[in-house]
Symmetry: C2
Subunit: 426 residues, 2 copies
């Protein structure tokens, strides 16, 4: 039996890498343009970080974590999300003491042990930002602008931004009471999961995908009418900022995000082109309570996470061609016969050291097969080397576009290529 | 209690990222110049992949794997090395059927549950290449050149390349018999671990670090005198190629690499500057048997893995300054008073959309504190915006290098910055 990648995981092959690199480079460039700096946290953390940070009764913590008990040592969990780790790092390294306000970005794999389905992977990849140290509503707006513009630059258009406010510790209890009051008499109309949620995490009923629950939720009081004055001002400021930046959005009371650490702003961007229920491209929000929960000061924090796998699906759904990542070689060296093989390999080595992207056959192929390979790669220049060329101290250089051939000294190659293909000698 | 990153794992903070990015970008550029293409495999694999590929009696498989039992599903293991996963991917996607010869590179985290110590992390990061589909000795030499040049380009000098040949299934049995014959009478002089190794994996005695074992190993027969004709020709060709490329190397019979899948070429590069026993910067070798072991054809494969953490330690050991990765902002916007805050944030947003890397205060700091922040960041340009500027429709632009100020319309900013700092408007 041949082994395969485990269910819910996959390889990214060289032929697919172009699109991944496009997304990562775009994210890196934009995040830095917006003033964010890269941070990397470990693939696994102390399980308590997620239990404490995300909330014991969340789906992730209860059912979806990859947790590994290591004998006497602390229990490890493959990170299911990156916000708690970034906040942990911010506190561990006392970054809040030298400069309370810090803007971070990250990209990398995350893990959730769920049923694999379309657009849903057990190992998936996210790009995200975390701005820690301010409660300013413009900061929430800045992160939303960054996410929205990221997708726009990738030509992922026609997507929907939906925002909501969950209030804070002042007004959340009244929102929870109101919700329980209105739903209490209709428990038998809710799905089984929502009947459980009623006691454990009533806000999660709001984003239930079941038809019956959705229609009940549609008729509920808009909970943002219960926001306290500070939360109302913050929500108004956010909406004002988005409007001033001409970012289209919708207020959607269903957006709750499912983690205990959020307060005030929550948002999601979904893509109708992906279809089905797994159509969120990303989301984010404000998590002031998380920083306190992890032992830090009440300085505030806001961020987002965007799904790289989903972004690629969204590009493909729009007919965006996968970029080939075949390295664009500058030159391919064709070896006429075995007697000059050593000279050919040494030539390839010297050219690479001069900055030329070049390769050669390692399978003992015929000249014809080597020329076919050069064609397939799509390389502009082919250097043919045989006993005749060696004895005359030249290389036969063929331009695959024009078909023209010339004999040239080895020293002339970098300049000849640079003049025509833009290859830059090191 | 505040939670910390687990022992043997660590965060890479923004202030450290510059050096990491330098290494990754150098690797990516060079690997592509040498004709390798990026592949990514999952963080965890079916445990059987490593048991079958690396060998049941290797240290990694016996003691160092992070393995997670998932109820009824297959057992998962965080990848302790990347060669078996890359070969698994090559076979799973039938790449060998369309084009047997393929060159891959990868970079990313690997996991070994060892005692944390200097230069040794439980999660560490590697850059590596795998060239699958050829048994040509020049290919082994090419990968060694690539590794050696990678370190040279990073100005990690004074390192040692040591190579060896382990033979193949033809001659390995004779090498093993010879070793057991010579060591059999001296078991009581070996360390406890080596006495175990004698029965289980006698070759591992050759790279034991214990003083007593080392002196015994020094007196043993050079096993490469027992190579079969094919292996001898391969080893001679490799040494000839390295000599022709003027790459200094030493033949060291101690190099065995500790994994069952190697045949013929094995090598390591170590850095005396790192000191102690953990001074290997990387290594590699040929693993023809692995491909067969995983169900593939006997086409041959060779590769290497270089430690990114170690490379950084090597740069730091040579006084290589850590690059700051503070994003070089083009411009910092200073807000004179709260009444113009919204205008300031909108200005920042418009400038970013035009490609200007810019940021602003989100903490309500005084003008003086904002100017201090601009100084600390080391930004060239500061744009001051207050009620006076707003009413006149201008921005006060200050050149922090010359101290000169000018008033300028918003439309003029991208051009003004491009003319002097090289910032390129999008």
């Amino acid at each position: 039996m041949n082994l395969k990648a485990l269910p819910g995981t996959r390889d990214i092959l060289p032929s697919e890498m172009g699109l991944w690199r496009r997304i990562e480079e775009k994210g890196r460039e934009m995040f830095q343009r917006w003033g964010y700096r890269e941070i990397r946290t470990p693939i696994f953390e102390d399980t308590r970080l997620f239990r404490r940070g995300l909330g014991e009764t969340t789906d992730i913590v209860e059912k979806e974590m990859y947790t590994l008990e290591m004998g006497k040592g602390p229990s490890l969990t493959l990170r299911p999300e990156a916000t708690a780790p970034v906040v942990r790092a911010y506190l561990q390294h006392n970054l809040h003491k030298t400069r309370p306000f810090q803007k971070f970005f990250y990209m990398g794999p995350l893990f959730r042990h769920e049923r694999p389905q379309a657009h849903r992977w057990r190992q998936h990849s996210q790009l995200g930002v975390e701005a820690i140290g301010s409660k300013e509503a413009w900061l929430d707006a800045e992160t939303i602008r960054l996410a929205q513009q990221f997708f726009a630059d990738l030509e992922i258009t026609g997507i929907n931004l939906r925002i909501n406010s969950l209030g804070d510790e002042q007004c959340r209890p009244a929102m929870r009471d109101q919700l329980r009051k209105e739903l209490g008499g209709r428990l038998d109309e809710l799905c089984k999961k929502c009947r459980e949620r009623y006691d454990r995490n009533v806000f999660r009923i709001l984003d239930c995908k079941e038809e019956g629950c959705r229609s009940i939720v549609d008729g509920l009081t808009d909970l943002t009418t219960l926001l306290c004055d500070d939360c109302r001002r913050h929500f108004d400021a956010l909406r004002g900022a988005l409007t001033a930046m001409q970012i289209p959005f919708e207020h959607d009371a269903r957006i709750v995000r499912g983690l205990d650490y959020y307060c005030r702003t929550v948002w999601e961007i979904d893509d109708p082109e992906l279809g089905g229920s797994q159509n969120a491209l990303g989301g984010g929000g404000r998590y002031d309570p998380l920083i306190v929960q992890l032992g830090g000061p009440d300085v505030g924090g806001v961020g987002f996470a965007l799904g790289a796998d989903r972004a690629i699906d969204a590009i493909l759904a729009r007919g965006g061609a996968e970029d080939s990542s075949e390295p664009v070689l500058d030159l391919f060296v064709v070896v006429v016969e075995a007697s000059v093989r050593d000279e050919a390999y040494l030539l390839v080595d010297r050219l690479r050291l001069q900055g030329i992207r070049t390769d050669v056959d390692y399978e003992g192929k015929s000249v014809k097969a080597q020329m076919r390979q050069a064609h397939r790669i799509g390389v502009r220049w082919v250097a043919v080397i045989g006993p005749g060329e060696i004895s005359r101290g030249v290389i036969r250089l063929k331009d695959m576009e024009s078909g023209r051939e010339e004999e040239i000294g080895e020293q002339g190659i970098p300049g000849r290529l640079a003049a025509s293909t833009g290859a830059k000698p090191a």
